[in-house]
């Protein structure tokens, strides 16, 4: 059990393109970086039994989730030569077409960021207790499961 307070990865609502753009801009001073790689998770308007998903409402076991994000971050820094790494995940309602996950890794070299990004995104999908309620246009819902 960890008592240490971890960095909060969660943001309320969708992650805006301005926020993503600003994050990129902030790295212009870090000139040892030669390659960035970015993953953006976007809410998909899945059609299930003729009903279309209009939004996902995210909830999380926040303390455990932030601890898991921290573990994933530490493991990625151990495994890969990264200069920096940022992870942001939405909570609450994110409409179809909006961004719900933003992962940003930077390294001196390109090959590293391809591998690191995949490792981090797969670990987030598998290990972090985030739950998604898929809301249909008629306001009915079903629970999303990562495949």
């Amino acid at each position: 059990m960890t008592e240490k307070k971890h960095k909060n990865v969660f943001q309320k609502g969708a992650i805006s393109s301005e926020f993503i753009g600003n994050s990129i801009a902030k790295h212009q001073t870090k000139t040892s970086i030669g390659a960035h790689n970015i993953f953006l998770g976007q809410v998909r308007a899945d059609v299930i039994d003729d009903k279309t998903v209009t939004a996902i409402e995210y909830t999380a076991y926040e303390d455990m989730a932030n601890a898991k994000f921290h573990e994933i971050r530490e493991a990625a820094f151990d495994k890969f030569e990264l200069t920096c790494m940022h992870i942001y995940h939405s909570l609450g309602t994110v409409k179809a077409g909006e961004i719900c996950l933003f992962v940003f890794v930077s390294s001196p070299r390109r090959k590293i960021v391809f591998k690191a990004l995949e490792y981090i995104v797969e670990a987030i999908k598998a290990d972090v207790p985030v739950f998604g309620k898929e809301i249909f246009e008629d306001e009915s819902h079903q629970w999303k499961v990562n495949s």
């Binding site: 995104v121 207790p129 990562n146």
Partner: protein
Amino acid sequence: MQIDIKYFGQIAEVTQQKEESLEFSGTLVSELLDILYNKYTLLKDKDFQVAQNQELVSIEAKVTGTEIALLPPFAGG
């Protein structure tokens, strides 16, 4: 001992609350689950994992912590 139990996602829909405190005198996580299955009959049909003090545990683990969470399938990203 007094245990705080947290429910998330579709599990919270079944229990109709996000958390509760229970007095528990048993030993194993599976015994605690039996109490909850009795209380919430629909819980048996649901897929979930158990976390104890924010770490996933097997149902054969001993209840040592004061915070137990029932976690439905993860859907992050």
